[in-house]
């Protein structure tokens, strides 16, 4: 495998070996998740107290991912969701800080969310996943998202396509917006909720249906594999979308900053729109016209 041409001095590991590590760490976290919520026939109750799922299992998954990565790559940097204070500004600050460190030290930066979709996870609504991305110079090169309930591993390598369980996947655009399925977030923050309401009201009459599934990483993966045509959300952190964005792009779709006229997406952009390469333009236009972009 060729070395990255982006960083001349650093020894960047081959992307394939970065991906293998990403997959291994995602699978490790995934089994911790499912064993904590498994319905044991003998015991007949889930093993872990619901409150512990967030306070214990989430950090346990993050620790497992970090140790798996550092085992293979002891000098890499890792930005993990669990290690950052809640809130958009803490998240953005942490990202900036790690990105500049990554650049100045010429080291790859991993951006991870041990359990994306924690509300689902706590309720045993089985749609949540570890999301793992590796970036070189601020650009995501390798991505892995693992649904441990469905046993589905979504992966991508920059310029080498996207896969589900090792088999290539591709977005599946519909012929018109009326036949398209749009996914949305239903975020808790007051401003985000208002944006979602405006967007929902504008889109519902014009699309086949709308889905709110509760895990950004998996909704991005599902756009990539054609189960959804579009996913947009107003306010997400880097670890929610870093891996999914690459998977969508490598599956022939498009990941963009929602507000960006030029369709740019840079890691750290909080407002996103991912689509199958076809319906995104129109969805974005509808959202813009409905006032979602206004302050």
């Amino acid at each position: 495998m060729p070395r990255s041409s982006l960083v001349s001095d650093a020894l960047v590991p081959p992307y394939q070996s970065l991906l293998q590590t990403a997959i291994k760490s995602a699978h490790t976290a995934g089994s911790i998740m499912t064993s904590a919520t498994s319905i044991d026939k003998e015991v007949s109750v889930t093993k872990v107290n619901k409150k512990d799922l967030l306070t214990k299992i989430d950090p346990m998954c993050e620790a497992a991912i970090k140790s798996t990565i550092l085992e293979s790559f002891p000098d890499h940097l890792i930005l993990g969701e669990e290690s950052v204070e809640p809130g958009a500004s803490a998240s953005s600050d942490a990202l900036s800080s790690y990105l500049s460190e990554s650049e100045s030290l010429n080291k790859p930066l991993w951006i991870i969310d041990p359990i994306d979709g924690t509300t689902n996870y706590v309720h045993d609504l089985r749609y949540s996943s570890p999301s793992i991305a590796c970036s070189i110079n601020g650009s995501i090169v390798v991505a892995c998202i693992y649904d441990p309930y469905a046993n589905e591993t979504f992966t991508a390598i920059k310029n080498s396509g996207a896969c589900l369980n090792g088999k290539p996947i591709h977005v599946k655009p519909e012929t018109c917006l009326e036949d398209s399925v749009i996914a949305m977030g239903a975020p808790p923050g007051k401003l985000s909720a208002e944006k979602s309401i405006i967007g929902f009201e504008a889109l519902l009459p014009k699309v086949r249906t709308i889905r709110m599934l509760g895990s950004a990483a998996l909704m991005l993966s599902w756009v990539a594999t054609g189960r959804l045509n579009c996913y947009w959300e107003w306010d997400l952190s880097s670890w929610d979308v870093a891996a999914g964005g690459l998977i969508v792009e490598e599956a022939g779709g498009r990941m963009r900053g929602l507000m960006m006229d030029d369709g740019r997406f840079e890691v750290g952009e909080r407002r996103i729109l991912a689509d199958d390469g076809r319906c995104g333009e129109e969805v974005r236009r509808i959202l813009k016209e409905s006032g979602v972009f206004l302050k």
Binding site: M212, G214, L228
Partner: protein, 350 residues
């Protein structure tokens, strides 16, 4: 017949079903003894005993479970496994009332398959099926009646999304007695028998570790609309807007009404709005799931509407109703009383 189906999936489901359908059960006990012994029985034992031909509804349950499993495998499962991969082939779809409301060739074939199985065992029973019903189909569950939906969550099914299921209900004397729901890609079989219990893959649902939401802010609420894209649309968007502004824990739109109700039974969701403008939701969406739900401690009720008048709460659960329903957990219901046009299902104990 079942030997010809290869079960790809968890050992637990297979073992549960094998036990379910093939185990010989000691049928010496009379009905009276059986009822007295219910509390002492291990639930798995009870579950298996249900399927002995001695039990009043044993044969009905066996027919429903077999039909659900057979319908859920074959083309249904093949499509779900291959959609979204390089192996997928496209399904032909046919629109019903508008392009959001459609059915596939698998819907039609599977409904036919289920009907044939029911008729083979119960030739005199009435059947209400989503694909075969029309305005002439009687809307009653007074005589022995089966209510079936071969594929609930058709949009999900076509997209290869796992949130889709087969739903089969047996009803008589205006009551839903048996509910069987099978989600092949989730590898989950849900069974409810009125007055007996409900199970997920053989595990009693009442024994699952479920939290009771303290208030609306802790609730995980699901909204599911029908296909109306005309007048009813304001009601739909208003409902979502209101719920979002109420600052609930989370809102979901999953795409399978039957699974939404089952998930309330399981504690994966706390409440479901089943259609908000008198559109979309039908008897086959509620029937089987309502048995599973009620046997798991959940509640489903109708809102009653005066002709041309205001919506008001109250009203016995009526699977043919398009009138809207109010909820159960008092706190959740009170918080939702501002929201009109709602059927609210909650899993908390009355």
């Amino acid at each position: 017949m079942l030997a010809s189906i290869s079960f790809v999936g968890s050992a637990a489901l297979f073992t549960g079903c094998a036990r379910l359908l093939q185990r010989d059960v000691d049928d010496a006990a009379s009905d009276e003894d059986y009822h007295d012994a219910v509390d002492d029985l291990d639930d798995v034992e009870l579950y298996s005993r249900l399927l002995s031909s001695d039990h009043e509804y044993g044969k009905h349950l066996r027919v429903a479970v077999e039909a659900a499993l057979v319908a859920g495998r074959g083309d249904y499962y093949t499509h779900l496994s291959t959609a979204g991969t390089i192996y997928s082939t496209s399904l032909s779809t046919t629109s019903k009332s508008n392009t959001s409301d459609f059915f596939t060739e698998v819907d039609v074939a599977n409904e036919k398959l289920i009907i044939e199985r029911i008729k083979a065992s119960f030739p005199s029973h009435a059947i209400i099926g989503e694909e075969t019903s029309d305005s002439s189909t009687p809307q009653t569950i007074s005589p022995p009646t089966w209510i079936i939906d071969p594929i609930d969550g058709t949009t999900n099914f076509v997209a290869g999304n796992a949130l889709t299921c087969v739903s089969i209900c047996y009803a008589e004397n205006d009551e839903c007695i048996i509910g069987v729901v099978y989600a092949p890609k989730l590898n989950e079989l849900y069974i409810g028998v009125k007055g007996v219990g409900a199970w997920l893959n053989g595990i009693p649902i009442r024994k699952l570790n479920k939290d009771v939401p303290a208030d609306i802010k802790s609730c995980n609420i699901c909204v599911e609309f029908g296909y109306d894209r005309s007048d009813g649309i304001d009601a739909m968007t208003n409902t979502v807007a209101t719920i979002m502004r109420r600052n609930v824990k989370s809102i979901r739109m999953l795409g399978s009404g039957v699974l939404d109700l089952v998930f309330v039974a399981l504690g994966r969701l706390d409440a479901v709005y089943c259609g908000v403008a008198g559109e979309g939701w039908q008897s086959w969406d509620y029937a089987a799931a309502s048995v599973i739900l009620k046997e798991s401690g959940g509640v489903i009720e109708n809102w009653k509407r005066e002709e041309g008048g205001e919506w008001e709460e109250g009203g016995k659960f009526d699977i043919f109703g398009t009138s809207m329903v109010c909820a159960c957990n008092e706190q959740v219901r009170t918080s939702c009383e501002y929201i009109n046009y709602a059927i609210l299902v909650s899993r908390t104990i009355y």
